[in-house]
């Protein structure tokens, strides 16, 4: 056995042992161990993927977009090596490479780790969805992150294709060859072109204000989600690129999902999504673009998307006791705003308002800084809430935010403990309970439900 082979075997053994122990961590420990022994492990293992690798990154929608791409490839009989549980730092990628066999790779990658993973994998395709303010204590400012991504894209081999969101100026600009000022060869843009879905006004958490080329403020014709929309620079003339994959007609059906007509190269397809909200339309457009870049016939995409289930925990409904709990991850202002917008549609069917459980944690993977709750527009649900239970390590601060958003104080309860608060919220709910956890609160919730036999543990 080669030295690398021995390290690989040892790391695999660590993964098997950690799963047997039942303590979890199977999606990260083997990769961590391997990277400690062999820092170039991702490059070494990745070079064995003869069909190449696809990397997916974004502030919001990484797991869902990668899940959609996997579903589309799966319908074609393609089974990529994929970190499907959402463990998206280097060790999660290394674990997937270590433990799965396949000829191509599909990796969602944390924003901050994208440059390092791209440099090791020489990907066939990079899919970039959006950049929103998120965990400023960990990622720093969006513009600094966009600069790091620009360097990573510039350093990628010329053969690397790109699928980029035309509606996010921070992302779209990454497709520009700064020497020729033209789009890089092999770049596919996606975007929304249904003006009926525009926001009535620009949201507070609006993150791309200044032209990346000249610094002048952008002018927006419409915005759909946060700063994603149709923009141009009145000073230097920089413009949103015309998307190759575009949603030209969208119908949102609350929590049930949505339907869209999507223009693709050479035609048009109809897409039905079992996932709510405009943000998931963006995820689907990213996945369709990726599929096209990976050689899938556009006509094969619709059935695969219709049949997919939400990627782990992003949206799912579980029976708990006598009630039903729908779980929607919230982790930053832009993502939370889209969840709140979806719930606002849902609340239209509930005269007494909806029941909520919101869990705000401040662990490292959530971001230690919980300031962001003041940037999310909880105001949109004022008057639409029957009762809310605030949980998590920073539960009182969540409750305070809601009070100042105009939610009646007598409908707000505080109970930091995840299990006790969830049981109380389920018992008190008039119908379905909407659970809005931050990332680590979602993990705690999943563990709790798994221990009760109500949901699968995510590393299984």
């Amino acid at each position: 056995m080669s030295a690398f082979g021995a390290k690989r075997a040892l790391a695999r053994g660590i993964g098997a042992a950690s799963r047997r122990s039942g303590r979890g961590g199977g999606t990260t420990l083997p990769g961590r161990a391997l990277l400690r022994m062999e820092p170039e492990a991702i490059a070494k293992l990745g070079s064995g993927l003869t069909g190449g690798s696809t990397i997916v990154s974004a502030t919001n929608g990484k797991t869902t977009t990668a899940g959609m791409i996997a579903a589309i490839l799966g319908a074609e009989g393609r089974r990529p090596v994929h970190n499907r549980a959402g463990s998206n730092m280097t060790w999660g990628v290394a674990t997937a490479l270590l433990e799965q066999r396949g000829t191509e790779g599909l990796f969602e990658v944390d924003e901050a780790w994208l440059p390092r993973v791209a440099q090791q994998l020489h990907p066939r395709l990079i899919v970039l969805g959006n950049l929103f303010r998120d965990q400023l204590d960990r990622y720093g400012e969006m513009e600094a992150l966009a600069e790091e991504w620009a360097k990573a894209v510039a350093a990628a081999p010329a053969a690397t294709a790109l699928a980029l969101n035309a509606d996010d100026p921070l992302i779209a600009d990454l497709g520009r060859d700064t020497d020729t000022e033209r789009p890089r060869d092999g770049t596919l843009y996606f975007g929304i072109e249904d003006h009926s879905q525009a926001l009535p006004e620009l949201q507070h958490a609006f993150d791309a204000k200044h032209c990346r080329r000249c610094g002048h403020p952008y002018a927006y014709e419409v915005a759909f989600v946060g700063h994603l929309g149709h923009y141009s620079c009145p000073n230097c003339g920089a413009q949103r690129p015309r998307p190759d994959v575009a949603a030209t007609r969208i119908e949102l059906h609350g929590m049930e999902g949505s339907a869209a007509t999507v223009r693709v190269p050479g035609g048009e397809i109809e897409v039905e999504l079992p996932l709510p909200g405009l943000y998931n339309v963006y995820n689907a457009l990213a996945a369709i673009s990726a599929a096209i870049a990976l050689g899938v016939e556009p006509g094969h995409v619709s059935a695969a998307l219709r049949d997919m289930r939400a990627a782990f925990g992003r949206v799912e409904t579980i029976a708990v006791g006598d009630g039903r709990v729908s779980i929607l991850l919230i982790k930053n202002p832009a993502g939370a705003n889209e969840v709140l917008r979806t719930l606002k549609l849902e609340a239209a069917d509930h005269a007494d308002g909806i029941d909520l459980w919101i869990a705000l944690n401040d662990r490292i993977a959530d971001g230690r800084d919980v300031s962001w709750v003041w940037d999310a527009d909880f105001e949109v649900l004022a008057g639409a809430v029957r009762h809310v239970t605030c949980a998590g390590t920073r539960a009182p601060e969540m409750a305070l935010r809601l009070k100042y958003a105009g939610w009646p104080e007598d409908r707000i309860a505080v109970e930091p403990d995840i299990e006790a608060s969830l049981d109380a919220a389920v018992a008190g709910a008039a119908g379905r309970l909407f659970a809005l956890p931050t990332y680590t609160a979602l993990l705690e919730l999943r563990k709790l439900l798994a221990d009760r036999g109500l949901a699968k543990e995510f590393w299984q």
Binding site: R133, L136, D137, G140, E141, M142, E143, A144, H204, K209, H210, G215, P333, D362, R368, D369, V370, S371, W372, V373, W374, D375, T393, R394, A395, P396, E397, A399, L400, R401, K403, Y404, E409, I412, V414
Partner: protein
């Protein structure tokens, strides 16, 4: 009575949920039957120092801060100085705090500051100073704790003329520069601090103190504010303190 607030560059200087501070002032005024007037001044806009009693400036990304520094010195410096000298309240958080000083070093550049406080901000080797923080301050007449979150690359040093807002509770944050244990600046009714979070919702007492100062400037006497049912506010303060380990 009416509380008159002016936000400076709200489109650029809003990175750490600064609107939470404004919303907090608004609700606490309205619940007491105090009118609330909120105006904004952005690029190139002049400021009438007599028209507003509480000035607010938040934090921004580097690029925005560079843009704001030049414009503010050119179009607003004299008005802000005159307002502060006249007893107006001013709260400057994070990037806004850095701009109160003589100068602010950003990368290779040195940006001009408002010169309202004897302090300067420089870059030094070392990581950004990030984390939950608690400081002890005597603003408002008695010793109290301010709790919040700090996240800054710049290191701020106070000059001889400047008084800090408070001292970092030892071992529970970095403060101005991570070295001398001081945090923020406090001059007349002007407060500069690295604590965001946003700061006021985590420290309702400071919000009420600023409201009092602003009303005193407008109406000549310091009002006694009606108490509010602050159960959640106290719990949030305790939560922020606990996060900082105090």
């Amino acid at each position: 009575m009416e509380l008159r607030v002016l936000s400076l560059y709200p489109d650029q200087m809003n990175i750490y949920a600064d609107r939470g501070n404004i919303l907090f002032l608004q609700r606490r005024s309205e619940w007491r039957g105090i009118g609330f007037q909120w105006k904004c001044a952005g690029q190139g806009e002049s400021v009438d120092p007599a028209a507003h009693d509480l000035f607010y400036i938040g934090g921004g990304q580097d690029r925005d801060q560079r843009f704001v520094a030049a414009d503010m010195v050119e179009t607003k410096r004299a008005a802000l100085e005159s307002a502060v000298d006249d007893g107006a309240a001013l709260l400057a958080v994070c990037g806004g705090y850095q701009l109160l000083g003589e100068s602010y070093q950003l990368g290779e550049e040195t940006l001009p500051g408002l010169g309202l406080a004897d302090l300067r901000t420089v870059r030094e080797e070392g990581p950004r100073l990030i984390g939950n923080v608690a400081i002890e301050t005597e603003i408002g007449g008695r010793k109290r704790i301010l709790a919040g979150f700090e996240n800054h690359g710049g290191r701020t040093y106070l000059g001889k003329e400047a008084r800090p807002l408070g001292t970092v509770v030892k071992g529970h944050g970095y403060g101005n520069n991570g070295g001398d244990g001081l945090e923020g600046v406090w001059r007349d009714n002007m407060v500069g601090t690295y604590l965001h979070g946003p700061l006021l919702p985590k420290n309702a007492w400071l919000a009420d103190h600023l409201i009092e100062l602003a009303l005193e400037r407008r109406y000549g006497t310091r009002p006694t504010l009606d108490p509010l049912p602050d159960e959640l506010e106290r719990a949030a303060h305790a939560s922020a303190r606990a996060a900082a380990g105090v």
